[in-house]
Amino acid sequence: MKIVVTVKQVPDPNSPQRLDADNTIARDGDVVLDPGDACGVEIGLRLKEAHGGEVVLVSMGPERAREAIRKALSMGADRAVLVTDPALEGADVNTTARALAAAIGSESPDLVVCATESYDGSTGMVPPMLAEVLGLPQLTFANHVEVNGSTVSVHRQTEDGYQVVEAPMPALVAVTAGIAEPRYASLRGIMAARNKEVRTVGVADLGLEVPAPAETVEGVEDAPSRQQGEIVEDDGASGVERIMALLQAAKVI
């Protein structure tokens, strides 16, 4: 079974971020493999372990994204394709989906695994757009994945539980971050990753045309902020007293 896992390098969610003068998020800080994508890689590896085959990473980003790709390769993925091109800088979601689809399509995978949403963008629109452009069925918000023969089946999180959803392969599965704890790379894995193939492709290689962005940022302003209230130090009783007073004032007790 050939499994493609999409991976993205994102600003480290655990390190402070700042905005550049033009209100874009500064990209020179610490970067990591998107924690959600690490879960996708884990699922890809488990499916390969159970059913055999190959795990191919597909990423889009600057050359620097190789760092995140190496991390996923050292977990055990077999090889990677990095879509990188100056023309894709600041690409909108439509172009992102088409570029990823072009790179993934040439691999003809049985299964495409994505995270439900990225840590930095969190709009979650790439998986359904990607599925549409690739012509694949989508199984989303999956916190459990199983492959039986040519069918993939997932538990899809819902507001009050989950649905069991199945589809014929090839298919795209978008997994939640809760699906599996990503493994740590072993020393051997880290060494092996150095020799694994990371192929870079540009828009010309993919036969892509990059249209003008479908959405443009008009401006960025401060959010109407909530007034910060009072901060009190709990000394064993004061915290509870203050909260009780607030609950009474709000007439909820």
Binding site: N94, T140, A167, A214, A223, S225, I231, V252
Partner: protein
């Protein structure tokens, strides 16, 4: 006048609240059609009409509720031809965002997701989106037509304006190959006594609780307050509690009278789902946690000690009164 299409999601034949929320805004922006696909569409049309939809497009094919995204995408792609509306509004909910994503992918028009508001400015659609941890708001302009915008739940208050929608049955137009992702079973878990989205008081817990064995402290306080328990994405991802409890961008949006966040640092992922609460109380060991900046009352202390004492205090007061 702008033409707007509202995607009114049905959940097993029942109209989901997001459709009425979208209508509350859409009817201020232009002439509104709504589309309600699957069994129950005609019944939903009555309510949609009272909330300002001029016309409701329906089709009762059960495939719309049996299969994910693809049948609805096919139907929408067909019905917006030959004259696409200026704007198509979806809710930023699990089901709608998949249909919106596929439709935008098919039309090649892009979309604006996670918006809090939408309007026309100089004839084009602009939408406002939380940005940079919610500290900023970005305004996006949609350059393609139709503009597709996904609005966060609870961004608008539904209200009736009276009126009766013309109900039009449209072709299902489901493609040969579109019955693929089939819902074969539905299971309920973590069924709350009080619905999280409707609770007057929400008590939520996060990583600061230390471990899943301490979550009962959150549940007990919620129960004595007659409220509901919630959770941060971190502890749902960690498997401490079911997803049904998650408050935030990928979870539920709540606007209770009082929101108590215990051991939650306040990442944007969480705060976008609870910032609209009337009063926010934060209990956290770290006085610099982001949650403290939006709290009306921030208590610096150990949630594991404060929660049980608070539960006792509420119980004592209830017994005293």
């Amino acid at each position: 006048m702008a033409r707007i299409l509202v995607y009114a999601e049905l959940d097993r034949g029942r109209l989901a609240p997001i459709g009425l929320e979208l209508l509350a805004r859409a009817r201020e922006l232009g002439e509104v059609e709504a589309v309600a696909l699957g069994p129950g569409g005609a019944e939903a049309a009555v309510t949609l009409g009272r909330h300002g939809a001029r016309r409701v497009l329906v089709n009762p094919d059960p495939a719309f509720q049996e299969y994910l995204a693809e049948p609805a995408t096919d139907c929408l792609a067909a019905l917006i031809q030959p004259e696409p509306p200026d704007l198509i509004l979806f809710g930023f909910t699990s089901d709608s965002r998949e249909v919106a994503g596929r439709l935008a992918g098919r039309l090649g028009v892009g979309l604006i997701s996670n918006a809090m508001d939408v309007e026309f400015r100089d004839g084009t659609v602009v939408a406002r989106i939380p940005y940079f941890g919610g500290a900023k708001v970005a305004t996006y302009r949609a350059n393609a037509r139709p503009a597709i915008v996904l609005i966060r739940p609870k961004s608008f208050e539904p209200s009736e304006v009276g009126g009766e929608a013309e109900v039009v049955e449209v072709a299902a137009a489901i493609g040969e190959n579109s019955r693929r992702s089939r819902i074969v079973d539905r299971r309920v878990e973590g069924q709350e006594k009080v619905k999280l989205e409707e609770a007057e008081i929400v008590v939520s817990g996060g990583r600061g609780l230390g471990g899943p064995e301490n979550f009962h402290l959150v549940e007990e306080l919620a129960e004595v307050l007659g409220g509901a328990a919630g959770a941060s994405r971190a502890i749902v991802d960690a498997g401490w509690v079911p997803y049904a409890l998650q408050v935030g961008q990928t979870g539920k949006t709540v606007r209770p009278s009082v929101y108590i966040a215990a051991g939650i640092s306040g990442a944007m992922q969480h705060t976008v789902g609870m910032k609209g609460s009337r009063m926010i109380v934060a209990i956290n060991k770290d006085p610099d946690a982001p949650i403290m900046r939006i709290a009306d009352l921030g208590v610096v202390g150990d949630a594991l000690k404060i929660l049980p004492r608070l539960t006792e205090a509420v119980k004592a007061r209830r017994q005293g009164s």
